[in-house]
Amino acid sequence: MSKQFTKLAYSSVDDMIYGSCPNPVTTRNGLVIGGGEIYPEVNFTLPPMHITKDTMPEVLSIYQEMIHGVLKKVHELHAPGLVVEFETLPDMTEHPEWGIQIHKLLRDTMSDYEAKYGLKSAIRMTPNDIREMSRPPIMRSGKYWEAMVKTFEGSAKDGADFLSIESTGGKEINDEAIVNADLRTSVFALGCLAPRDMAWLWTNISDIARANGAISGGDSACGFANTAMVLAEQGFIPKVYAAIMRTITTPRALAAIENGAVGPSKDCAYENIYLKAITGTPISSEGKTAACAHFSPIGNISAAVADLWSNESVQQVKLLSGFAPVVSTEQLIYDCRLMNVATRKGQTKLMRDLLVESDCYLDPQAYVLRPDVAFEIGKEIVKTQDPFIRTLNTAKLTLDIIKKAVDKKELVIEERELNWLDILESQLDEIPEDEEAFIAEMKKEVDSSKYNPSEYGI
């Protein structure tokens, strides 16, 4: 562990705003993330198609069309900066040469636009985590991990600015926990398994970044908390469970920063607000303008302290105006313009608070993203360095915060949610406060065919 966090990065919650942070990150070409302005982060992906050796020319031509469309729009609308995220699809990670080739196409086109129009942009390279393709997953070796390393190294050599991933350590047992709203198993996945994998993984990614002149970006607990959010949105599981899932991904996320990552953290990681409060690193976020990728109850509040503002992902499909990635780009640019104009007029804090107030009383998942709540949770987390205790205490505190907000009638939740406040509390009460004891219990409870404890060193 290269870093330890024992206190928050801010002395006052008023200072935590969008577009700037205590520890901004600067790319090779001088784009500063978290240095005062919020920039769009655009992500785009293929329409439904097979990816094979034979279709690769078509794949490349679609990416070519997408990046040109996006950069042309950014130029036309005079946006001062841009981040593009390239998230590989599983086939591209399995065949690292494909992912690397697409990345190079994007990176080179972006450099062309910078040379021609002075358009400053950076690329985030996000190989998808294919380690879970083995079931149970093999986390620290094997062909899948090797393919991921090749992808990171190859793209970093070609000029990738930020290395990122949505890593999946612990997800193999959390998937079933989610549909059961089983907080006990989720605490095991997020408090015991995930931080161990994250520490190992981000040490490795940060080494690759350092060796190749790239920046070690950040992770996202997408497969945990966002899956919960989407299922809650569909009415499948309680929103209060999803809200707690959000906050308890933070100790996991911290493991990246403790082991070399410096940000910007990933767009879909809404736990980023706690991360920013604790570490002061720049973060990416997404909300209403990512509705093309997923719906959410946090469309505005998610922008409140963001340094990059993203559309998450959109396919190259044609809408009435033009291709969807260009549509996203235009929308993100206008969102950022409004926020940056507020900053130029000295109104960042006011705009932040309006974004927060917009959503925070309407859903527990929005309520826990309030900056003041983030401070409260952050302070609890830095009290200890033990990821398991951090996770357990965060769960308890979050439940407490939600209960109080409901009692104060500040937060309205559905009838069928109320019941779950008690169910979740009793789930938490049964977790021992000693990790070793908890791990011993869970090793008996969890289906051992689903995961390899040894891959987590437990």
Partner: protein
């Protein structure tokens, strides 16, 4: 045995109590078919209805389904013995290359809840495995799911596999998953597309009822 008591036990997910009540009913000589239909399946239908009306969540439904299964496991050998058929056989799985099972599991669970026998092939299922399992068990319905836009085309490949084996028309093929839509389902010649788990179970039930009423 009190049918109302059994229904409440299923709804609340009390597996032990369900087992006891079913055993009691069998001992009392209540017809196996009646315990199955009016006891277990009807109770699970109440659970499904409560879910549809936003009164409960999936976890509550899962607990109920497990309780129902506990009762069913007592009845099953007796059903075979008395020649009562389950409402239908369903093979389900996530296509090759796709590791997502949350949606598929929900569909499988709801289909079990409505009384069907469900054969869950899991995730990352080779195309031909769908055909083999369907042929082996004499399935009525095959459900194929994909969560990624990149794995969605594999649904079409599975259907092609059924065609190659010359058994396409023996099965009602249902497809689903986030990227799937009606146009895609039509383009690959699926029999049915549904956009969510609850609809999938309902549509499957309606199909089986109409199939076996003829």
């Amino acid at each position: 045995m009190d049918f109302e008591e059994l229904s409440l036990a299923v709804q609340k997910g009390k597996a032990k109590q369900v087992r006891e009540l079913v055993n009691q009913g069998v001992e009392e000589g209540i017809s196996i078919e009646k315990i199955l239909n009016e006891g277990l399946i009807d109770s699970m239908a109440v659970v499904g209805e409560n879910f549809k009306q936003n009164k409960i969540y999936v976890p509550e439904m899962l607990v109920a389904a497990r309780a129902m299964s506990a009762g069913l496991s007592i009845l099953e050998p007796l059903l075979t013995a008395t020649g009562v058929k389950p409402i239908g056989k369903i093979v389900i799985g996530t296509v090759r290359g796709d590791l997502h099972d949350i949606g598929k599991n929900l569909v499988a669970m709801m289909m079990k809840g409505m009384g069907a026998t469900v054969y869950d092939l899991g995730i990352d299922v080779p195309d031909v495995a769908f055909v083999e399992k369907a042929e082996e068990v004499g399935a009525d319905i095959v459900c194929i799911s994909a969560l990624l836009t990149t794995t969605m085309p594999a649904i079409g490949d599975v259907i092609t596999e059924f065609e190659k084996a010359g058994v396409r028309n023996k099965y009602h093929i249902m497809v689903g998953g986030a990227p799937v839509n009606q146009a895609f389902a039509d383009s690959i010649g699926a029999n049915k597309y549904t956009s969510n788990a609850a609809d999938a179970a309902e549509v499957a039930k309606a199909y089986l009822e109409s199939k076996y009423s003829n």
